[in-house]
Every structure is written in structure tokens, then in C-alpha cells.
């Protein structure tokens, strides 16, 4: 299989690799996927409690090149955004940006799940109510 230049770029030079202190109240952690499925993504965010802006995003991914690229791109996109705004990112946006072929769409789905899981964890920690329908809320 050949990869798009953007996938190769994110794979070769992944952005925002790392680990945040998951015990901090400002940090939300999302761990999605499963080792037996061949991909696990951990995405972490540090949110400014005053502004609700995601000031830092870090990831680590076990998975194929497209999974690594999808999570790397996700951290790039959510950094500097407000939490509610980050929730508007769709897996299809990732597919488009990275030109993922159909067999790799699940990588982008996982990245979207990771964003939601990290934000969900942060909300839970900080007693912020989950938005019932994120899509509607964002529109």
C-alpha cells in the first residue's frame, strides 16, 4: 500500500508525542482501541480552567502508520481550541486531510473517539455536564 505524503510526514515526524500527568485535574486522558485489534491510541489534553482552551495535547499510539498519523494530526488540530470546539472535529475531516484509503478509515474513527474520550474524562473530573448532542450543540 502506498501512503499519502501527509501520512508519511506525520508518521516520520509525529507531533506532540508524550505523556501528561493523568492525575492532574486539568488533564483529560482518552485511551481507545485494543491491542488485539492492532491499534491503541492514548490522547491527553491539558485544559485551562479559566478559558477552557486546550493548551496542550499529547499522544502515544500503537498502530499502523495511518493510526499514528491520525492521532498526530488530531493533537495538532485540538491544540489551542476550546473544548466544545474540539468536539466538532469529525473523522471524515481527518480522512480528507490525510487522504486515507477506505481500509484505513477506522484509524480516523479511532482518533475522533480518542478526542471525545479525553474531553469526556476532563469533563468528568471537573464536573462539567456532557453535552447531549455534540453535533447539534456545535452548529
Amino acid at each position: 500500500m502506498s501512503y499519502s505524503d501527509k501520512v508519511v510526514d506525520h508518521y516520520s515526524n509525529p507531533r506532540n508525542v508524550g505523556t501528561l500527568d493523568k492525575s492532574s485535574s486539568e488533564v483529560g486522558t482518552g485511551l481507545v482501541g485494543a491491542p488485539e485489534c492492532g491499534d491503541v491510541m492514548r490522547l491527553q489534553i491539558r485544559v485551562n480552567p479559566e478559558t477552557q482552551v486546550i493548551e496542550e495535547a499529547k499522544f502515544k499510539t500503537f498502530g499502523c502508520g495511518s493510526a499514528i498519523a491520525s492521532s498526530s494530526l488530531a493533537t495538532e488540530w485540538i491544540k489551542g481550541r476550546k473544548v466544545e470546539d474540539a468536539l466538532t472535529i469529525k473523522n471524515t475531516d481527518i480522512v480528507k486531510e490525510l487522504s486515507l484509503p477506505p481500509v484505513k478509515i477506522h484509524c480516523s474513527v479511532l482518533a475522533e473517539d480518542a478526542i471525545r474520550a479525553a474531553i469526556g474524562d476532563w469533563k468528568k473530573k471537573n464536573g462539567v455536564a456532557e453535552t447531549a448532542d455534540v453535533t447539534t450543540a456545535a452548529q
Binding site: 501512503y3 508519511v8 508518521y11 516520520s12 515526524n13 509525529p14 507531533r15 508525542v17 505523556t19 485511551l31 481507545v32 482501541g33 485494543a34 491491542p35 488485539e36 485489534c37 492492532g38 491499534d39 491503541v40 491510541m41 492514548r42 502515544k60 499510539t61 500503537f62 498502530g63 499502523c64 502508520g65 493510526a67 499514528i68 481500509v103 477506522h106 474513527v109 479511532l110 473517539d113
Partner: protein
């Protein structure tokens, strides 16, 4: 900033990309090409043309190839049937025997790590009323001979078990399997594609009745193979699956691929002459590669028996690193992976799963297939490159980090998707 780009220098004498996938196919040996060349142009005759010199010339070349192949496996020239390759040989053997011996019984025994050319042929026969037993393998990849003995019943007509596995290179105990079959009066077919020319295979000593082989795994051309069919003690009969001009003693019609057959013969001759030295050479390269991985990396795992294994095969899992991402990082080295992401079906290797390994180990596996033309310098480069990329990808791996922190990954509730 992290990077997964390797900065290794390419040593002198190494040309990229490096081919280390010799179980998939092997390069044509220049000596084989040389033998084949005249049969494309000057000596183009049809081996079935009985009444002119063009035909005789072609027939002579085919006869020589038959002898070269027979000699390598301890058979006689008359027992060699030419085909288009091992997939056809396996189809012809299994379907041809099933059809010919239908009156005697409808039960076939095989095992779970066979090549798809065997498994899918058996599956098709199940649709036509045959009963197929798929023996399991042990953790080392070998079948249990007691399982085989128990599986044989009075309706069993055929046992088909491979000599060497294409993914993990393990060698099944074919001599003992053949002995059991002969004691019970059951025909024994073996798909010996990966074994012939690499390790000694002798149809008499190993009690083999029918054997599939192909040229392109032994530095011969693609598109030509053979089926050995025993003529005495016992005489095995096979119903033709391709009808036509009655070539190959009626078992396989179709004009013979003379240049290909000449190439197959020459490839067998060379393999026979060089098998001992080549096996020792490849074993040395392979064991060196394995030792480097084991000394410089943690959490590496050899898949399948090391004791009963092809000399040029190493199948290793680099746990907590996904195989396709590793292949992407070593893109100037041609190897293959058992990872789901490298297969069209998104399923990890059924061979590795059959060993009882978790899917996560299968996802992390790389098959190194060393061959005649690989050098020590290439192996050194590949080892360094793989080690480098594995370390970099583990810096990216949440699983590796968790394991290092002492977290038991089996205790986590993963969300399978």
C-alpha cells in the same frame, strides 16, 4: 521533536532496497536464466511435436528437467508431472485424489496452518460432500502425531500436510506422518514448496506419495511447478482437473512451458549441489540476526519452533509495536508482516493465531526470509535498522510505556472495535 526516521548510514557493498522476503518469491539465479534463454528463441519447439527436430529438442530438454527434479527429491523422472505452479499442484493433488478415490472414502485430513491453496481446496471439497479434519498445531507450530492417528478412520483417503510453513518456516514431521499414513493405507500428499531445495526431502525415505513443488521459491522462474505422483508401493492415481491433449500421462493437459521447465530443472540441480553449504550459510545469517534482536531489544518473541525450522526463516514479534508501522519505518527493506493491517481482510495471520498467540503478538510480527543472495552486510544493516525503528516506535507506544510502568495490559478493559 520525535522522529521515526532512521539516520543509519548504508554500508559499502549494500544496495537498497534489500530483498529479504524469499518465502514470497526468490530472484532468478543467473545460471537458471542462462539455461532457459535458448528455449525462448532458437529452441522454441513444442515438446509434444513428435515428428520434427524442434519438438525432439524441446522434449529432450523437458526430459532432462524431469530427471533433475526427480533426483532432488529421490523420485524417478516418470513420476514428475509439470504444472503452472504449486497452487495448481495442490489443487490437482487434492481434487484429483478426492475424485479418484471417492468410492473408497470421503474423508481428508489436513492441518490449520496450511497454505490457502490447500485449505481453500479442502473447503471446496466440503461443499461436494467430503469430510475434512483440520488438525490443530501445538505452540511450536507442529502437529501432534497422536492427533493424526486418532483422526484417521476407515473413510480416510488422503492426508495433506505441508513440509515447511511459509510464514514461520517450521518443518512438520513428514517422515513420521508418511509412516502413519502408509500403515493405515492412506495416501500422503505434502505441499513441499518451501522445503524442497532448502532441506533434504526424499519421497522414499520420507514416505511421501504425492508432493507439490514450485520453481520460483528456489531461484527459478514463476509460473512453473511440478507434482510428484508415486508410481509404485503404492501406485497413486489422480483424476485430471484440466482436460485436453492428454499431456503428462493424461494427468495435466496443456502445452508444456518448456523454458520454464528447463529453469525449474536447473534450479533443482543447483539447489541439490549447494543445499548443504547454503543451509549452513543461511542458518548463520539467521541466527546472527536473531541474536542481535534478542540482545538489543526487550519484549521480542520468536514465533514457532527454532529446532524444526527452515534455515533461512526468522519470524519474530516485536511486541508493543504494530507490524505495518514497523514495515513503514524500514521501507528500504523488503520483509513481510502478520499484522492485520498488511492483509486485505484486516485479519491478523491465521498461522500465528493457530499457535495460540494473542492477536497482539500476531500484529507485531515480521517475517524475515533470507535467501541465497543475501549477504552478512545486508543482515547487519537490516538488524540495525529494525532495532532503531522498533525503539523509536516504542517511544510512541502507549502499551510499551504502560508495561514499563508495571501495568498488566490484560487487566485493562479495552474497547474492541
Amino acid at each position: 521533536m520525535s522522529t521515526v526516521v532512521s539516520q543509519l548510514e548504508v554500508p559499502a557493498g549494500v544496495t537498497l532496497p534489500i530483498y529479504m522476503d524469499n518465502h514470497a518469491t526468490s530472484p532468478l539465479d543467473p545460471r537458471v536464466l542462462e539455461a532457459m534463454m535458448p528455449y525462448f528463441t532458437q529452441k522454441f519447439g513444442n515438446a509434444a511435436s513428435r515428428n520434427h527436430s524442434f519438438g525432439w529438442e524441446a522434449e529432450q530438454a523437458v526430459d532432462l528437467a524431469r530427471q533433475q527434479i526427480a533426483k532432488l527429491i529421490g523420485a524417478t523422472a516418470k513420476e514428475i508431472i509439470f504444472t503452472s505452479g504449486a497452487t495448481e499442484s495442490n489443487n490437482l493433488a487434492i481434487k484429483g485424489i478426492a475424485e479418484m478415490y471417492r468410492e473408497r472414502g470421503n474423508h481428508i485430513i489436513t492441518q490449520v496452518t496450511e497454505h490457502k491453496a490447500v485449505l481453500d481446496t479442502c473447503k471446496r471439497l466440503e461443499k461436494y460432500g467430503y469430510r475434512v479434519t483440520y488438525l490443530p498445531v501445538k505452540a511450536d507450530g507442529l502437529i501432534d502425531l497422536e492427533d493424526l492417528k486418532r483422526a484417521i478412520d476407515d473413510k480416510t483417503i488422503l492426508v495433506t500436510i505441508m513440509a515447511a510453513n511459509n510464514e514461520i518456516g517450521v518443518l512438520q514431521p513428514i517422515r513420521e506422518i508418511g509412516k502413519i499414513c502408509h500403515e493405515k493405507g492412506v495416501i500422503f500428499h505434502t505441499d513441499a514448496v518451501q522445503a524442497v531445495g532448502k532441506v533434504p526431502v526424499n519421497v522414499i525415505e520420507d514416505n511421501i506419495d504425492v508432493l507439490s513443488l514450485t520453481a520460483h521459491k528456489i531461484y527459478g522462474p514463476k509460473g512453473v511447478g511440478a507434482l510428484y505422483v508415486r508410481r509404485r508401493n503404492p501406485r497413486v492415481q489422480i483424476a485430471a482437473q484440466i482436460d485436453g491433449g492428454g499431456h503428462e500421462r493424461g494427468m495435466r493437459s496443456g502445452t508444456l512451458n518448456v523454458p520454464g521447465i528447463v529453469g525449474l530443472g536447473k534450479a533443482c540441480e543447483i539447489s541439490m549441489q549447494e543445499m548443504d553449504s547454503e543451509a549452513a550459510y543461511l542458518r548463520g545469517l539467521r541466527d546472527g540476526l536473531k541474536a542481535r534482536f534478542e540482545s538489543e531489544l526487550d519484549y521480542v518473541h520468536v514465533n514457532g519452533s527454532m529446532e524444526h525450522r527452515l534455515p533461512g526463516n526468522l519470524n519474530m514479534s516485536f511486541v508493543y509495536v504494530e507490524g505495518e508501522s514497523l514495515l513503514m519505518g524500514i521501507n528500504d527493506v523488503a520483509v513481510s508482516s502478520g499484522s492485520a493491517c498488511t492483509s486485505a481482510t484486516l485479519e491478523p495471520s491465521y498461522v500465528l493465531k493457530a499457535l495460540g498467540l494473542g492477536d497482539d503478538v500476531a500484529h507485531s510480527s515480521i517475517r524475515f526470509g533470507l535467501g541465497r543472495f543475501n549477504t552478512q552486510a545486508e543482515v547487519d544493516y537490516v538488524a540495525a535498522k529494525v532495532i532503531d525503528i522498533v525503539k523509536k516506535l516504542r517511544e510512541l507506544s502507549p502499551l510499551y510505556e504502560m508495561v514499563k510502568e508495571g501495568i498488566d495490559l490484560t487487566k485493562i478493559e479495552w474497547q474492541a472495535h
